[in-house]
């Protein structure tokens, strides 16, 4: 018996796409946020404050940049958010300024303690912050739902995944995938393979020397790095690396494969948001310049 599997699948996909395109978010909308709180939005938010740079980027990528009325001190992309009122950072949030902006919703990170005082001040607060690679997509969709831009969110997720796939096709064919140490902080801290940055490092065509067992953003014992003897070191300049005790013998230093991360790429890499594909592209160019000639 032949079963029209393909036909049914097409039908499901089609109906899904149709309903997705047609359905608008219906308010009041109740969701569970990243702090485990049940939050109800009475209507589509028109005045939005974002206190997370990656969230600011996502809101703009959903076409709602003009609804942002305030952002945190570190939001600097796209350019137009830099002109918005600043409401502080994680350590020094300016709660009064946030309340004064009369936002319909404040999008916060699960860190910092903004939810309680803002809620008490009568402001709706939703904690949304992606941490893993997969969460970049799920939280983008969630933001789309919250802000009544579900179709745009789906399109955005599709675009980011497309950007990533294009880089991956190139790096998968790379003849040699160097073992790499990626330093995000000179104390030193690195990235584990399961962190979103670690996933990008692998997709960019490198083999992370940090095992998953060490965690997502582990503090690394310097002798571990020397023992692992990576062929590539990212996130440190060559002079600093060379001056560290015992590092001059590491393969990466002998071969001159030590690359500092340019500031713009660095800020992209640190933000689990819509520029993930661009960040991957930048990283892949550093690791495999030969593929992008």
């Amino acid at each position: 018996m032949t079963f029209p599997v393909k036909g049914i699948l097409t039908l499901i996909t089609l109906s899904g796409a149709l309903s997705g395109a047609a359905a608008a978010t219906s308010y009041p909308l109740t969701i569970t946020d990243d702090l485990g709180r049940k939050v109800t939005l009475k209507a589509e938010p028109k005045r939005i404050v974002s206190v997370l740079p990656s969230t600011s980027e996502t809101v703009c990528a959903l076409g709602l940049c003009d609804r942002l009325v305030g952002v945190d001190d570190y939001s600097d992309y796209p350019q137009q958010v830099t002109k918005l009122p600043k409401v502080g950072g994680l350590y020094n949030p300016n709660i009064e300024a946030m309340v004064a902006l009369k936002p319909d919703v404040v999008l916060v990170s699960q860190y910092g303690k903004l939810a309680e005082p803002l809620t008490q001040a009568g402001v709706t607060v939703i904690a949304v912050n992606p941490e893993t690679y997969d969460e970049v997509f799920s939280k983008t969709l969630l933001l789309g739902k919250i802000l009544n831009r579900e179709a745009q969110a789906k399109a955005l997720v599709g675009k980011i995944k497309g950007d990533i796939a294009r880089v991956e096709i190139l790096t998968k064919n790379a003849v040699r995938q160097p073992t790499a140490y990626f330093e995000i902080d000179p104390t030193p801290y690195s990235i584990g393979p399961n962190s979103f940055m670690g996933v990008l490092l692998t997709k960019a065509g490198a083999r992370n020397i940090i095992p998953a067992s060490m965690g997502d953003f582990p503090k690394v014992d310097p002798e571990f790095i020397v023992k692992a003897n990576p062929q590539l070191i990212l996130g440190v300049d060559a002079k600093t690396a060379g001056a560290r005790p015992g590092w001059s013998g590491i393969s990466a230093l002998k071969a001159g494969k030590v690359r500092d991360i340019p500031a713009e790429l660095n800020s992209m890499l640190g933000r689990p948001g819509p520029r993930l594909g661009q960040a991957l592209m930048g990283l892949a160019k550093l690791i495999h310049p030969e593929l992008f000639k």
Binding site: G89, Y91, N92, D185, P186, T187, P188, Y189, K219, D221, P222, E223, F224, V226, K227, A243, R244, P245, G246, G249
Partner: protein, 334 residues
């Protein structure tokens, strides 16, 4: 000479031997163990090849260029902080005194933080630390001064206040310099990672000069324990002794704090342990504190490297805090 010091418990000669053996054991363990396990034979081979300037092979680099300088740095810093702590406790006849008193450590930390946040060259870090340590001491002394005298209680109060203000300034700098925040935070928690031979050689003169001077003052410090008036009548220039001791301790503390940061409780508890075991005479207290302090910090760093506690300052505070409370209770019962 040592026999003249009051004894309690163990004999001083045996104690010296035991503590020296403890330090040696800590150094050997600290060099052999870590995130990469290296068998003793390989460690010895690496030490031999390094000492005779042969080519380093295999794990030699780890032993000779990463672990050994880190261990030596730990011993140096532990010894410095302990000797300074013992000297401060003697100078001010206050059991709670250590390099944190007088704002010396906080001053050093501020100077080092400025240097780190501003991105100055590494060799300038201890210099900057020393300068701010001296400014901090000068502030404390001028605040505490009463005519020509520095009454101990006023001195301690002034030191605590100056230290708090400087710590607040350091914290403000950490929060301003977001990019280097974690680097500076790690530093203020005390960290021996990335200590190399060059750092050891930079810190060595500070430690040697500072601790050397304090050891030479040991007999005068003993006399001071009889009380200021008695000391004065025995011909000890009390004010000058205090000043020189404070300067010497500032020098050693600045060196210790410069690269590895603020490591709590070592300077406080080590002299107490030695005093409990060998009595209060400074001519035994200071050198034995150096041995035990060195061993303790090397051991604490080994724990930091091999457990999720991750930083030596965290280990010393976690171990030192409860020990100190026990010490307080015990002294009350005595």
């Amino acid at each position: 000479m040592q026999a003249a010091a009051p004894r309690r418990g163990l004999g001083v000669g045996l104690g010296t031997l035991l503590l020296a053996a403890l330090l040696l054991a800590a150094v050997v363990l600290g060099t052999g163990l870590g995130s990469v396990t290296i068998p003793p034979g390989e460690v010895l081979g690496a030490l031999w090849r390094g000492a005779t300037r042969q080519a380093l092979e295999g794990n030699d680099v780890i032993v000779w260029q990463i672990r050994l300088p880190r261990v030596v740095m730990g011993a140096l810093v532990g010894a410095s902080l302990s000797v300074c702590g013992g000297a401060f406790q003697g100078v001010f006849r206050n059991p709670l005194a250590d390099p944190y008193l007088l704002g010396v450590a906080s001053g050093s930390a501020l100077g080092a933080t400025v240097a780190i946040v501003a991105g100055w060259p590494r060799a300038l870090i201890p210099v900057s630390a020393l300068l701010t340590a001296l400014v901090a001491v000068a502030c404390t002394l001028s605040l505490a001064r009463e005519g020509r005298r520095f009454p101990p209680t006023r001195l301690i109060l002034a030191g605590v206040v100056v230290g708090s203000v400087l710590s607040a300034a350091t914290t403000a700098l950490i929060l301003r310099g977001e990019d280097r925040a974690r680097q500076v935070l790690a530093y203020t928690l005390g960290d021996l990672g990335f200590s190399g031979w060059r750092d050891v050689l930079t810190v060595l003169p500070y430690a040697a000069l500072g601790c050397g001077a304090l050891l030479l003052l040991a007999r005068a410090l003993d006399t001071l324990q009889l009380g200021e008036l008695t000391a004065r009548s025995l011909g000890v220039p009390v004010e000058r002794l205090r000043l020189i001791a404070v300067l010497a301790a500032s020098l050693a503390t600045a060196g210790a704090v410069a690269y590895v940061g603020v490591i709590g409780f070592v300077g406080l508890i080590v002299p107490h342990m030695i005093r409990l075991a060998f009595g209060p005479g400074h001519r035994t207290l200071l050198p034995l504190s150096a041995l035990l302090g060195g061993a303790l910090l090397v051991g604490a760093d080994l724990l930091a490297r091999t457990t999720p506690l991750s930083q030596v300052g965290i280990v010393t505070t976690l171990l030192g805090g409860p020990f100190f409370l026990w010490l307080l209770r015990k002294e009350r019962h005595d």
